[in-house]
């Protein structure tokens, strides 16, 4: 598991920064190189394909808007994952928090119509936070008290969350007269405002970036951030230093779930405006790659989320303008994910001191 050993209460040296940036960029470079080989073998010009990908994701304001919109849920799921990772908890259940959080936000959005308009969004997001956090309470307590492997519990909870929400939208919460597995549309007042029409980019992106900034500050400047980092690096040391490791682990799981819930809430309030069964194409899992590629750092995760967002938006349109199949883009995305986990730093140099 990666840990952000580079962060400390003291500022690391400039060289350490350069090194960590290099380590973060290397996986991307290797992934691009291998994907280029695959493209070559399949008879495409890799330079041309990459140029097209770049244009389709960042070519003009509309495309940039689409890319940022696609990266919004990934910023949040990456952040949720990183919060748990840095405390040494391998939470792979952000997808589940995303589902239950999205459902909670949608419910408030269409049911709580008695609320004043400007309260709708905060109330819906609050519901998403509470439900998302509670979703992670059980695996957190099981890990902290009984040492039950969180990978197993959180992974299983994903399936429960997906099935549970699917049941709800097919039964009690199904929109009247609808044949789709979806809730009614949320009230207009509960929708996040677009900030770059005609793209779907909305204020949810700003919330996500604000949370990243808060996270950067929290992780390096707060006592809890310090404690959770030490817990992640060496639980035994943390215990001996008088840190209540169980409390830290449960707390970080709740926080991770809360941010996962917000991810779902923002996706519902900003993009689809109701809850639809199976509404996530694996945002929670891509979030794991975002956290790993971004090495749990705020800037790193922002860039990683934008990268994956760009691959998503350009992948969708590249088929329209070339005969490159979407699978090639998926392969590229998969490559980046695989190499995000590799620690190339270990290969550089002749070994470690």
């Amino acid at each position: 598991m990666t840990s952000d050993a580079a962060t400390t209460v003291m500022q690391p040296s400039g060289r350490a920064w350069l090194r960590s940036i290099g380590e973060a960029l290397l996986p991307l470079g290797v992934a691009l190189a291998i994907a280029a080989l695959i493209l070559l073998v399949s008879g495409f010009d890799p330079i041309e394909v990459y140029r097209l990908l770049l244009v389709e994701s960042f070519g003009d304001a509309r495309r940039i808007g689409a890319t940022l919109a696609a990266s919004t849920p990934l910023i949040l799921t990456g952040l949720a994952t990183a919060i748990a990772f840095r405390a040494g908890v391998f939470n792979v259940g952000v997808e589940g928090s995303l589902y239950v959080g999205g459902m909670a936000a949608a419910y408030v959005g269409f049911a709580a119509t008695g609320l004043l308009g400007f309260l709708m969004v905060p109330a819906a997001l609050l519901a998403a936070v509470i439900v998302g956090a509670l979703w992670m309470w059980l695996p957190g307590v099981l890990r902290a008290r009984l040492d039950v492997d969180e990978v197993v519990t959180t992974l299983m909870l994903n399936f429960i969350a997906i099935s549970l929400t699917s049941y709800l939208v097919n039964g009690p919460l199904l929109a009247p007269g609808s044949a789709n597995s979806a809730t009614p549309m949320i009230a207009d007042a509960a929708r996040l405002s677009p900030i770059m029409p005609p793209s779907t980019l909305n204020t949810g992106f700003l919330i996500a970036v604000a949370l990243l900034v808060l996270y950067a500050f929290w992780s390096s400047r707060s006592a809890l951030g310090f404690e959770s980092r030490l817990t992640g690096l060496s639980p035994r040391f943390a215990i001996a230093s008088g840190i209540d490791v169980r409390k830290v682990i449960v707390g970080m799981m709740l926080l991770s779930g809360a941010v996962g819930g917000i991810a779902g809430g923002i996706h519902v309030l900003g993009n689809i405006h109701r809850f639809v069964a199976g509404f996530s194409p694996g945002y929670g899992f891509t979030g794991i790659a975002v956290a790993l590629l971004g090495r749990n750092s705020a800037v790193g995760m922002l860039l990683a989320a934008i990268l994956f967002g760009a691959l998503t938006t350009s992948g969708a349109t590249i088929q329209l303008f070339s005969d490159v199949p979407i699978e090639i883009v998926n392969i590229l995305q998969g490559m980046v994910m695989i190499f995000a986990v590799a620690r190339f730093g270990l290969l550089v140099g002749k070994g470690r001191p």
Binding site: A5, T8, P12, A16, S222, A223, L230, L233
Partner: protein
């Protein structure tokens, strides 16, 4: 070679061929030159000791000999031929094997399984030929003059048995050059004698042994040749007959040390009281059985015992790492038996762990973080849950300066420091907040002479200021140098008490072996 005694190793013939040599080996880590133009010649069939303080470059050189690291400059010669080692496996195939300070046996496997690991005798269908394995084990046993229960799990084997298995493993895989890194650090005095006997036996069979240590007594007993390293350079290389302890110490340190000064104690009120304490280890076996003891302000009380007699459990129970199975612990008049570790710390308890790499420090975290941990919630460093960066930076810098921690940036990981400097960070953190009582476990383990003197002075100064120390150590010299009272611990019980002044190696040794004092 015929017979030889422990005290006087048989002088190896000066004309013995050079088995292993280094020529101008230089290895840099950033700005630090860990090895600086090292020249070394190790004669076949001799014990060659490499001595030097922490950070002298011993470990780096040994890693290079083992193929774990490569020099930036210089050459390795095996039997006079230059070689480039690709890795430990390559080193093994050329006859070089190493026993690391931290043993590398696989838990959950038996001693026999560990012995044959990576070179298992195979029967039909790739099954392990147990009979052949056991035969090989018995042969090695005879060769080494030991006798082991090969079906014992590694987890159940005492430390010295694990070490013998590590050594036999090298023999099993055909090594004739054995590198032993601080092999006596974990052993009791009697076990050290056995180990030295084993080393002499192996030498008698024509093997070459590189013995890394900073304990000069042992080095004088075991070595034929000695090479002294200091700050990455060779400061001297000579046959053992041409030197003595004093000269070696001088070469290692480069300057004359002031010995720690112990002033007469003026013990005050009881600070730590333990009544009928019982504690179990992680497997539920009772290791501490009804221990009573008191430590007063301004007093150092030492626990003398052979490893495995309950010291670890005693320390863990007092520190609050494990719940005691019975009895009471009273800190400054307050019963803390049921309190969690953080509340004990708040009451003035400090704990210097014997396990520096896993518990005393967090190797991957920054030096600054290690120096701060545990104090980070103090009002001086933290307000409303937010850390005060400026105050912390000033505090950490002053702390590291006061404890003379040789370092690069405080943001570097603590693992970038030498062992002695790491321990200074741990001591600085534990003593800095002026605790009421310090549980000091193996405070100088793996620390060089200069570091030991410094740490001893820290403990004595702390006592002078009215601090209470419960000292748990396997170093008898340390106990004699520091303790006001010495309690013997054997089989989980206190076997006796000796006041400072009447303590000497002999009566402490008797307590450690469970003999009641007359």
């Amino acid at each position: 070679m015929s017979t030889h005694t422990l005290e006087t190793p048989a002088p190896a013939t000066a004309s013995a061929p050079i088995r292993l040599a280094a020529r101008g080996i230089t290895r840099r880590f950033g700005a630090v030159v860990a090895n600086n133009a090292i020249d070394l010649s190790v004669r076949r069939g001799t014990v060659h000791a490499i001595v030097g303080g922490n950070g002298a470059g011993k470990s780096t050189l040994m890693k290079i000999f083992q193929g774990l690291d490569r020099p930036d400059e210089g050459t390795l010669l095996l039997d006079g031929k230059p070689v480039v080692l690709a890795g430990p496996a390559d080193a093994f195939s050329r006859g070089i094997g190493m026993v690391h300070q931290e043993f590398m046996l696989v838990p959950g496997l038996t001693l026999l399984e560990n012995l044959i690991l990576a070179k298992e005798p195979a029967a039909i269908l790739g099954r392990i030929d147990r009979k052949a394995a056991l035969e090989a084990a018995r042969r090695l046993e005879k060769e080494a003059g030991v006798s082991l229960d090969w079906d014992m799990l590694v987890d159940d084997a005492p430390v010295h048995v694990r070490q013998i298995v590590e050594i036999l493993r090298l023999l099993y895989r055909g090594a004739d050059v054995l590198i032993l890194d601080e092999p006596t650090a974990v052993l009791a005095p009697a076990q050290i004698r056995d180990l030295i006997a084993l080393i002499h036996k192996l030498k008698g069979e024509g093997r070459t042994i590189l013995f890394i240590s900073h304990k000069l007594d042992e080095v004088m007993q075991v070595a034929d040749d000695i090479t002294v390293l200091r700050a990455g350079r060779v400061v001297g290389s000579m046959p053992v007959s041409q030197t003595d302890k004093g000269r070696l110490a001088e070469m290692m340190i480069g300057e004359v040390l002031t010995h720690p000064t112990a002033r007469p104690a003026a013990a005050g009120a009881p600070v730590l009281q333990i009544f009928g304490l019982a504690a179990r280890d992680s497997r539920g076996i009772e290791r501490i059985k009804g221990v009573d003891l008191t430590v007063r302000a301004g007093e150092i009380v030492a626990i003398a015992g052979v490893a495995g007699n309950g010291q670890d459990e005693l320390a863990a129970a007092v520190a609050g790492l494990v719940a005691p199975a019975g009895g009471r612990i009273v800190l400054c008049g307050k019963d803390v038996t049921q309190l969690p570790i953080q509340e004990r710390r708040a009451l003035g308890l400090s704990y210097l762990s014997a396990d520096r790499a896993n518990e005393g420090l967090c190797p991957a975290a920054a030096i600054a973080d290690n120096a701060l941990a545990g104090h980070h919630r103090r009002p001086a460093f933290c307000r409303s849950g937010l850390l005060k960066a400026g105050a912390i930076k000033a505090h950490v810098t002053s702390l590291l300066d006061r404890y003379s921690v040789m370092r690069g940036s405080p943001a570097d990981p603590v693992s970038s420091l030498s062992g002695g400097n790491q321990q200074r960070v741990a001591i600085a953190r534990e003593l800095d907040a002026e605790p009421k009582v310090l549980i000091a476990c193996q405070p100088t383990r793996g620390v060089d002479i200069r570091g030991i003197a410094f740490i001893h002075q820290c403990l004595l100064d702390y006592r002078e200021r009215g601090g209470a120390v419960l000292l748990i150590t396997e170093e008898l010299d340390e106990i004699i140098a520091l303790a006001d009272r010495i309690l013997g611990l054997y089989g989980g019980r206190i076997t006796g008490e000796i006041e400072r002044g009447t303590a000497h190696l002999e009566n402490i040794g008797r307590m450690m072996l469970g003999e009641a004092l007359a």
